[in-house]
């Protein structure tokens, strides 16, 4: 089995920042595994602006922010990038098994940093009853369809939840010629950034329903309509407040969950509620030498903070390797 100083799983903003940071603190043998055919992770589909003000002191789009780190990573020979490499297992001994076309490899790291990002809550997780037709998307999937594939998921859209990706996608749909009928948020206020409420929702006159929820989805083949109802502060439906919205598309934007199945497999102690490792200290796990950073550690609002904390993870891994 190949042994490396540091193995990093995930080539998005967190993994790249951690790699560069560990290198700058003396780690000279780093393997960075990325499952996609490009580095950059989810930033590649976040083509809107709003990134980098904290870290680079200028306003960038997602791909531009990623590009700066990609350049940096590529310029460091000590960081070996392995693309289309999909980690499928990890042990407490820091042995990572990964697949890529034509190969199944195992590698043991002195330290491992998991930068595996997060996934979106699904319709099932927020318990929306009704039928299961085509036309129900996570906001992130809709973003990928439009921005990466050039495919428009639907013409009449209702957004469930007001997370940032949902707000940004509401605007994106309008720009592509679709009509966004409503954003329905069960809470009193939005979870998204205020600037996104202004520039994505108010700019385009999209109706925003706070304290409301989707009580049912209708449609056999494709979504046909939803029923919406007002709720009280305990999320109980208020009788007589229901109404229907005709639509062919539903976007779910109800929050994110850290993606930590591999660290869980390795035996790291997990917080079941948040799906992140239990730890007193940022980026650390219950197994010394296994670190978690970026959105797999905790869900961040902005990428600049991911970078900041992942730099710390790189430093922690370097110190750990140095102490061995």
């Amino acid at each position: 089995m190949v042994e490396r100083e540091l193995v990093i799983v995930g080539g998005g903003p967190a993994g790249m920042a951690a790699a560069v940071s560990a290198y700058e603190r003396g780690v000279k043998d780093i393997l960075l595994l990325e499952r996609d055919q490009y580095l950059g992770g989810i930033l590649n589909q976040c083509i809107h602006t709003g990134f980098g003000l904290g870290y680079f002191k200028e306003v960038l789009t997602g791909p531009e922010y990623a590009e700066r780190f990609i350049e940096k990573v590529k310029s460091i020979p000590a960081i070996e990038v392995s693309l289309k490499s999909f980690a499928v297992a990890m042990t407490s001994e820091k042995v990572v098994t990964y697949l890529h076309p034509g190969k199944l490899d195992t590698v043991k790291g002195k330290a491992v940093i998991m930068a595996t990002g997060c996934r979106e809550k699904t319709r099932e997780m927020i318990h929306v009853p009704g039928t299961r037709p085509a036309g129900i998307f996570s906001a992130g999937l809709a973003q990928k369809l439009i921005n990466i594939e050039g495919l428009l998921p639907g013409n009449e859209v209702v957004v469930v939840g007001s997370g940032d990706i949902g707000l940004i996608m509401a605007r994106r749909f309008v720009l592509e010629g679709a009509s966004v009928k409503a954003v329905v948020e069960i809470q009193k206020t939005s979870k998204g950034l205020v600037r996104n409420i202004v520039q994505c929702i108010e700019d385009f006159g999209i109706p925003m329903y706070y304290n409301h929820k989707i009580s049912r989805i209708y449609g056999v083949d494709r979504v046909e309509k939803v029923s919406v109802v007002r709720v009280d502060d305990n999320y109980n439906e208020l009788p007589g407040t229901g109404f229907e919205i005709k639509c062919d598309t539903i976007l779910i934007s109800a929050g994110l969950i850290p993606e930590n199945e591999l660290v869980e497999m390795a035996g790291v102690r997990m917080d079941k509620k948040t799906n992140s490792p239990v730890s007193d200290k940022l980026n650390e796990t219950s197994i010394p030498g296994i670190f978690v950073c970026g959105n797999s550690c905790k869900v961040y609002d902005i990428v600049d903070s991911v970078t900041r904390d992942s730099v710390i993870a790189g430093k922690m891994a370097a110190e750990y390797i140095g102490s061995l």
Binding site: V88, P101, R119, T122, E124, D248, K272
Partner: protein, 478 residues
């Protein structure tokens, strides 16, 4: 002219099992399915349990065919390369008072020929099913219960039937049947007319309507909805057995099910509905099921539920209806095939062939019947050593498409080569999109592979046929 000896209406597990059985004989056989793919009706929401035969009243067709089917399915699974696991089941009770009921069930089971059943106590349960709650005082253990993938069974049965000469017509809905006295049936469909000497009605939820087309209207199919909830694959070993409560009059109750895909499942509910297409799920059903199963296994956590769906059982009274309609010679009804229909399917197929023989169909065996089918590989079911062998044979086994359920590009392409035409078709065959992220990450890749392999434009890729397209517009089309 589309002239056949036998036409089977309905491409679920019943129709497919009959098709394969008939393909052993020198006959021209066709199977007609109204949906775009097979197994898209009742069979798609089956629990995948191969029942031992317990909990069916002695003397019923259900009891007889279930016990026979449980024996037959092992051979069928082996020949077709479908995974069958004999995991055993436990019917649990929460109070000492109910233990005599377990003995009653045991007696009934033995009467119909179920082997190996025994009543087990707390100590046995502690050792063999440690996650069971302390409230459980005893259980009936039936070791011959097993699990299988219901869709893969349908796809593999029908694929093997097709290889042995059966013509399969999907997207072909039967609109009317005329019986020409003593000669032929004329079956009018959305894809033209078909002619057959014998017609088998295995139309699931619509069996009553198909039967009415030849004037037999003495039964009605009442849909009984069941909502089921799938847990994360991480919880694969939450139980070692299938866990049942004591059965009630209408159903076998809410169960904890092991599935052949690894993900445990909880459910189903049982609710009579009017609409044959009502597969909606409810908040109430979810709460009921979670509360109920937690009493049996406290470790089940509702946060581990990653998916849910509802299926409709085609109920026609208490028992299966399997009979030749003497008033319409050549017409065989196979209706009301609800639980334990999946288990019984191979036995039903034998029974139907026997009925056909007795009613004038000449049954001459082919000199060569291809009984075997090459096993479809699934990475999630293999140890890494086996995965490595596959990757060496074909590099695209190492190209992962679905990360939650570990499905490779090779498996997706293979599924399409074997007949998948829709996103659901790919999902049922491979589990891609069926994991915890619900296809957020792999949908676009699967759409592209489907488009590449079938030549269908991205805008025409559907979830399950008809108007269920995934996207409405391609920027490239202007």
């Amino acid at each position: 002219m589309k002239q056949y000896d036998v036409i089977i209406i309905g491409g679920g597990v019943t129709g497919s099992a009959i098709a394969r059985e008939l393909s052993r004989y020198r006959l021209k056989v066709a199977l007609l399915e109204k949906e775009i793919e097979l197994a898209f009706g009742v069979s798609k929401s089956n629990s995948g349990i191969i029942h031992p035969g317990t909990q069916n009243p002695p003397g019923s067709l259900k009891a007889k065919l279930c016990v026979e089917g449980n024996k037959l399915i092992r051979q069928v699974a082996k020949e077709l390369g479908v995974d069958f696991k004999e995991v055993g089941e436990l019917v649990v009770v929460f109070s000492e008072e109910d233990i005599p009921k377990l003995h009653e069930l045991k007696k009934e089971a033995e009467l119909i020929g179920v082997e190996g059943v025994e009543v087990v106590d707390r100590d046995w349960l502690k050792k063999n099913e440690p996650n069971l709650s302390d409230e459980v005082v005893a259980a009936l253990y039936a070791p011959t219960a097993g699990i299988i993938s219901p869709y893969r069974l349908v796809y593999d049965l029908s694929e093997n039937a097709a290889r042995n000469g059966v013509r399969i017509h999907t997207d072909t809905k039967v609109l009317g049947i005329t019986a020409e006295k003593g000669k032929n049936f004329i079956i009018k469909t959305t894809r033209g007319e078909f002619f057959a000497k014998f017609v088998i009605n295995a139309a699931g939820l619509y069996a009553d309507e198909v039967s009415s087309m030849v004037g037999i209207s003495d039964f009605k199919i009442k849909p009984r909805k069941g909502e089921e909830f799938l847990l994360d694959k991480k919880r694969q070993y939450i139980t070692n057995h299938l866990i049942f409560p004591l059965p009630t009059k209408v159903s076998k109750g809410v169960l904890i099910i092991k599935t052949s895909d690894g993900n445990p499942m909880i459910g189903p509910t049982a609710e009579d509905v009017d609409d044959k297409e009502d597969r909606s799920t409810t908040e109430d059903g979810f709460k009921k099921v979670v509360t109920f199963v937690k009493r049996m296994v406290g470790a089940i956590d509702e946060n581990d539920v990653i998916a849910y769906f509802a299926g409709l059982r085609p109920v026609a009274g208490d028992d299966f209806i399997i009979r030749h309609e003497d008033k319409v010679p050549g017409f065989v009804n196979v209706a009301g095939i609800q639980s334990p229909g999946l288990t019984a399917a191979p036995a039903i197929a034998l029974m139907v062939v026997d009925i056909l023989g007795k009613n004038g169909l000449a049954l001459r065996k082919k000199w060569f019947f291809r009984r075997h089918r090459k096993k479809t590989e699934h990475l999630f079911a293999l140890p890494f050593s086996e995965t490595l062998k596959l990757i060496k044979k074909d590099p695209s086994y190492g190209d992962i498409v679905c990360r939650c359920e570990m499905v490779s590009a090779k498996e997706v392409r293979e599924a399409i080569k074997r007949g998948a035409r829709t996103m659901d078709g790919v999902k049922f065959r491979t589990r891609a999109q069926a994991g915890r992220c619900h296809g957020s990450f792999c949908t676009t890749r699967i759409m592209r592979i489907l488009s590449e392999e079938t030549g269908v434009p991205l805008t025409e890729i559907t979830k399950r046929g008809k108007c269920s397209c995934i996207v409405k517009k391609d920027r490239r089309d202007g």
